[in-house]
Subunit: 76 residues, 2 copies
DNA sequence: CTGTGACTTTCAGTCCGTT
DNA sequence: CAACGGACTGAAAGTCACA
């Protein structure tokens, strides 16, 4: 198996899953940020895969999105 | 205030799950740290729930443990 | 082999904006 | 509404000596 997974693409995929769930909930980045008690610009950069998000913030986002944290990290 | 989930215990539980998986694999903290390319003392503090670990390190640990990242975050 | 405190460096995360 | 930039603060990353 491939030894090293590309970290940038890992974060990008995570961001894409978050974005998808957010849109499914019909929330704006601002609204999601408000629900998760995070900064609007931070949520934006997370969705774009630019941030190595910490697990507690991941939990906040999951709660705001109404899903389990493990769901956010489910790879296909 | 509403739904103020205890963050410390969240991290402790995460650490406990990691420890459990590590022991199931019969690895020492040192060995796991080596596999995950992390410091031994860092792994130690994660298992004790003292660190709000970021997703890329979570991914490293999951890979070293031979499980999915989502498995690490599965709550009971 | 593991826990711990102390420590420095890096970057997560906020806040002000503009496009 | 979203992307993005600059500047900043606090927290995560990462390491060490020693119990």
């Amino acid at each position: 198996m491939p030894y090293d997974k590309d970290e940038q693409s890992y974060l990008s995929q995570l961001g894409a899953r978050i974005r998808k769930l957010r849109k499914a909930k019909q929330l704006s980045q601002e609204a999601l940020a408000f629900e998760a008690d995070l900064d609007r610009t931070y949520v934006s950069s997370v969705e774009r895969g630019e941030r190595n998000i910490a697990v507690l913030n991941l939990a906040k986002l999951a709660r705001a999105l109404g899903v389990e944290v493990s769901t956010l990290l489910q790879e296909e």
